[in-house]
Symmetry: C2
Subunit: 737 residues, 2 copies
């Protein structure tokens, strides 16, 4: 070998050696160095949305509904508070991470077995004629169940009052004004008959009591529960003449014995001895129009104004008392409803969050029904059980949400949101610190017209975005080019001011109430609804014995596709809230909504308020500052570093704090259950939502007040408190330091 070849060889070998060495060296790092984890930046899994939607099945929901509605399941009785509680618990033990049962000992109310309530006309000689039906007629065998509870209004006083009858229309406060102020017809000492509709029935009872009535009959008028172009059940889904609407009269929420505190074991047995206020002091009971026509048809007195006329083939008169041969007869009520303690249960199921287990997104639906409840609430329960099954399937595939999902099956909602309210009272500190949002579905499918939602404005965008991802269950709509739930919703229920669907404010009437009104947790209430423009007071068979599985299957949602659609929207909203690194809460929409509420206030009350010394400059300025803060936080969100956990958590905490900021530390004047200064149930109709409730309530009927100066000072005080809270909310959105 020549020297030069040796050199060449040596160089080659050494280069090969170096190369080998480089390779060995490069990969020769000890494990602990090479395996330094990159900073954990949990982001959402973009595939899960579609997988979840595909998993949701109409057949499953249908079978859930059939199973859940086999028997009547009123609160406090075994079918609901033992059988269904156990069914849901078992399902969730299978699908979810954990389940907790929360029992509460609360005050419920039932009619007397074998001696349920009735109305009659009592003649001079004591004979009772025209006795009303104690039970709704059995139309299908399905309704023939010994556990059906006869029509009654919960928490009615018991009693057998007799007296002259007066017709009070919807028993709104303005109806009593009309009678007492315009028509000079006193209702003191009278038995009043009101039609259902327009306002919450509990407020009807409050008004009747306020105006001195000694009893209240509430009937369903055909004009409000049927249509002229179609027959009634079993021909179609409209209310038959024998159908009567059950329902509670309790106008606050939760166990009436323990306002603001939970009726939990170990503690509140003692409170049972406390006297409770606000329950009706007069007997109240519902009847169908098969009976109402007999009493209203005999009324004496002037004919009513047009807006008071119903749909029965009689001349509607005010009364008081009966005419002609019955002028000496009285109306008689026999009401034996009594209040009784009972144990009710919430079933709470959890999917533990992977990154932020201490942040909750809550899904809620009540379980108890007045009878079978195939629409209210069991269409929602059937949907929720399918949603939890689908989420469970995702879990088994290895998915886990960033934040914790909480599924809530509430007891005793029908009596006054009792299960949810007691639970919020019990867990108030935890929920205040940890709850992102509460997503309520009560009666999931009330019709096949359109999605409908009420909620706080910060949630609007995530609701819109979710509905855009859900395919339209209505083929006719799809063929019109509206391929998503969003499209039909926007088409059929457009917002008056923006190019989006309309989302209304939240009143009371379902389980979001305590979440929003006591704690300030951003809430939305979802359902699929019928065409509201036809003028029904509610879906027709609401709270009657005819609200059955077969009615749903025949008339409401035969393919259960609308049920699936609601489950998809509901699931996607919750998934998005649970998985997005930055919460999809939009403060700018909240700001817009505040400004709109301000504009409405000025439109309706502005000149009166200014005349009495309220300066809108203060409200305008507070809203200007709020809008600025809302815009700024969304700019900060654009540049947020989501790999910085503390920065991400801090901005999410601010977004969560937004809704909390509108909760007054004191309840609204005279209203123990409501603390939200931006929106609350209307003072005279718990179903409705009032913007700036303390201010507006302070002006109610102010011109008739003997002390207008005192009343206007109260308006000013409430106005000041409102402005303060808007400024406080704006401050909560600003950078912490």
């Amino acid at each position: 070998m020549s020297k030069s070849r040796i050199i060449v060889l040596t160089v080659i070998v050494s280069l090969l050696g170096i190369g080998l060495g480089v390779i060995i060296g490069y990969f020769g790092h000890p494990n602990q160095n090479l395996n330094i984890p990159a900073p954990v930046v949990p982001t959402e899994d973009p595939t899960i949305s579609q997988l979840l939607m595909n998993e949701l099945s109409a057949d499953n929901i249908k079978e859930n509904l059939r199973t859940l509605t086999q028997s009547p399941h009123i609160a406090g009785r075994d079918q609901d508070d033992v059988v269904l509680v156990d069914l849901i618990k078992q399902r969730w033990l299978n699908d979810l991470d954990s389940v907790v049962i929360h029992p509460y000992n609360v005050l419920l109310s039932y009619p007397k077995q074998n001696d349920s309530n009735y109305i009659s006309i009592k003649l001079d000689n004591g004979t009772e004629i025209d006795v009303s039906q104690r039970k709704e007629l059995v139309i299908d065998a399905e309704q023939n169940n010994p556990n059906v509870v006869d029509p009654f209004n919960a928490y009615s006083a018991a009693g057998e009052p007799e007296g002259d009858l007066v017709y009070v229309n919807y028993a709104r406060i303005e109806d009593f004004f009309h009678l007492n102020r315009t028509k000079m017809i006193s209702t003191v000492g009278k038995i009043c008959i009101s039609r259902y509709g327009a306002i919450f029935r509990g407020d009807k009872a409050v008004h009747a009591e306020l105006y001195g009535c000694i009893g209240l009959i509430i009937y369903s008028d055909p004009i409000d529960y049927t249509v002229p172009w179609s027959g009634v059940y079993p021909e179609d889904w409209y209310l038959p003449s024998t159908g009567a609407q059950r329902g509670t009269l309790w106008t606050d929420n939760g166990d009436p014995r323990t306002p603001n505190y939970p009726s939990i074991q170990y503690t509140f047995d003692l409170l049972l001895q406390q006297r409770y206020a606000h329950l009706p002091k007069i007997p109240v009971t519902p009847i169908g129009y098969i009976d109402a026509v007999k009493y209203l048809g005999k009324l004496a007195g002037e004919e009513v104004i047009d807006t008071w006329k119903g749909g029965m083939n009689i001349t509607y008169r005010y009364g008081p008392g009966f005419s002609a041969e019955h002028s000496n007869s009285k109306i008689k009520m026999s009401v034996k409803t009594t209040n009784q303690p009972a144990i009710i249960h919430n079933v709470i199921g959890y999917i533990r969050g992977k990154v932020e287990p201490d942040r909750y997104v809550l899904f809620g639906n009540h379980r108890d029904a007045w009878v079978f409840g195939a629409i209210d609430p069991t269409s929602g329960t059937a949907t929720m059980l399918e949603l939890t099954r689908a989420f469970g399937t995702m879990l088994k595939r290895g998915w886990r949400p960033r934040r914790t999902l909480v599924f809530c099956s509430w007891g005793a909602e029908e009596y006054g949101l009792i299960g949810s309210t007691e639970w919020v009272e019990e867990l108030q500190k935890e929920l205040q610190a940890r709850a992102i949002a509460y997503l309520n579905v009560d009666a999931a499918v009330q019709g096949n017209f359109s999605l409908a939602a009420n909620g706080v404005a910060s949630l609007n965008q995530v609701v819109f975005d979710s509905t855009k991802l859900v395919s339209n269950p209505n083929p006719a709509e799809v063929s019109e080019g509206r391929s998503t739930v969003y499209d039909t919703w926007k088409h059929r229920s457009p917002s008056s001011s923006e190019d989006v669907p309309s989302i209304g404010g939240l009143g009371s009437g379902s389980d979001y109430t305590a979440f929003l009104q006591v704690l300030g947790i951003a809430s939305v209430d979802l359902r699929h609804t019928y065409d509201r423009s036809i003028g029904l007071a509610s879906y027709p068979v609401y709270h009657s014995v005819y609200e059955t599985f077969s009615l749903v299957e025949k008339f409401v949602d035969p393919g259960f596709q609308y049920h699936v659609s609601v489950s998809r929207v509901w699931g996607e909203i919750g998934r998005k809230l649970a998985d997005s690194p930055v919460l999809p809460l939009d403060c700018r929409l909240y700001a817009q909504d505040l400004a709109k509420k301000r504009d409405d206030l000025i439109t309706y009350y502005g000149s009166d308020m200014e005349k009495n010394g309220v300066d809108f400059a203060q409200l305008n300025e507070s809203i200007r500052i709020f809008i600025q803060s809302a815009n700024e936080i969304h700019q900060r969100i654009q540049s947020i570093d989501i790999s910085n956990a503390y920065e991400t958590r801090a901005i999410n905490d601010q977004l969560m704090l937004l809704e909390r900021s509108f909760i007054d530390q004191n309840p609204l004047p005279g209203r123990v259950a409501y603390r939200h200064v931006v929106s609350a149930p209307s003072q005279h109709n718990s179903y409705g939502s009032t913007a700036f409730p303390a201010v507006v309530d302070a002006m109610f009927d102010i011109d008739a007040d003997p002390d207008p100066v005192g009343r206007w000072n109260e308006v000013k005080k409430q106005y000041s408190i409102l402005v303060f809270h808007i400024l406080s909310a704006a401050a909560a959105l600003k950078p912490a330091v």
Copy 2:
């Protein structure tokens, strides 16, 4: 070269090559790989504690005190609310990151200039004799300042009542019981004279009004403000005969016109028109013993019992009225004090947290004084300004705390914690979400005996740990082997049950009140105190004109070493709370404290409560569950991964939630400003702290109630609410899912 040599060479070269290659390869990783940051695990800087302590200077505090006490600086007047506000603002703009001034328009109270309050004896013929001094005598030139406000009690009604005088001892509720029930001496229509001490003066006025007095004179008795073995100022620091104690009578907190809401611009102008309750309806004024002796010495009636006797050289009698030649004379009060709106200011300075800027550790001290306030509060203000300077120096050296430090200079504390209360009301949502702890120092150095602290038990350990790091300012104590502040504190003020210093509960009386009582923010109040065993009602010159810089320099803390000591303890507690990755809040100590309070309740009230149907099993069970939760969370803390930001933040949020959990959503019965169910100011003495206040207050004087059943039901209700809150706090400490 032989073949074998070539092979050997080739092997050697290739091995060298491999070796070189390994080295190149090992270090040859691209930068972006080698520089992967380790996960950020911010931990505290252990050196900063000592650096901060060394930075704090006695000379600086002394000069601060001299500067701040040059003139009287009562709330609402320029020296405090313009000059000192600006001084502090300028200092903090230099030392801290940012400063915000919060002005409030509030209701204050002042005596009439050139016609200040006095007392006299009015003879039959209308002549007034024994007229009291309107001003305290000038002893040193220092006190001769035209801005000294003459002795008065804030919010007294104006008036010139005349009547018979009755001595009411300390005007405690039990003193009125003694007079009215035991001695059968009615105070209705009388002018009462009470000595200062035992309880808050505002409660004296409430009791006097309740018992029908038409005026109240409050004097400082020498037995409560001097000692037999020493002279009075200027010989020593004891109260001279001419000294009178100013002070507020307002028993709630904050602007009396706006309970629960802040008196901020833009909003609450309108509220000024609201009527405000609870301010005294009778004239009240303070006097010194130079005057009191003249009135008390002439009293008629029986000699008082021993516990009512003071230290003046007279026979103490109850009255009513004067004896002998003055039996027809009346006592007359001339009080021209009026309520006046004023603008007060809080100065708030921030050091922005590096990691968690949205978590606050607050330091607070009030700025306003009745006169010069060299002890109350300016010993605290002088200390706080040195502490902020020292923290500023640390900042300039590159240190920055993990969490945000907030320094608060409160206005109008003396009138009823007005500045701090309005601020807490204004920022309630932010503070509720973000405040870790509030650390109050009012009168920092009241004596050279020992450190003293009142606070919530979860803070005890961090307070103990901090005082162990601070060297003992008392050389005599050091030579006894007690080298730290902790040692002397434990020696002189030992806990009755544990081997630690005693830390009492928080009543009211300084600015921690709203933080703890409205929002449930863990709070502690620190001071260096005199020897309480000698029986003084407070440090002697409290709220008199003699509370001057030279009194402090001569008698209280000549070397200002006790001031430095307080600044070190205060600073270290705050630093530790701001810097520790896991908050140094100890739930186990809270649990111990709850159990001790329960034991005390049973000791004092147990047999009565059980006799009336209260079952302690419920309270015992709730405390057992709380103890278990507290132990469990501290076990979880042992194994926490502080590199996991979400896990760390979650556990800290739980620790923060502990104190919040004891805040009732409703105020304690009849007490608009207090919501804490575990400890609140005593109902009949705002200075004191009552454990389980709603329960204990419901039992007050229950045997004298005409409706004992109703009262015991109220006890049971409050007991149930207490048990619920303990369970709620226990739940807040459990894992979130």
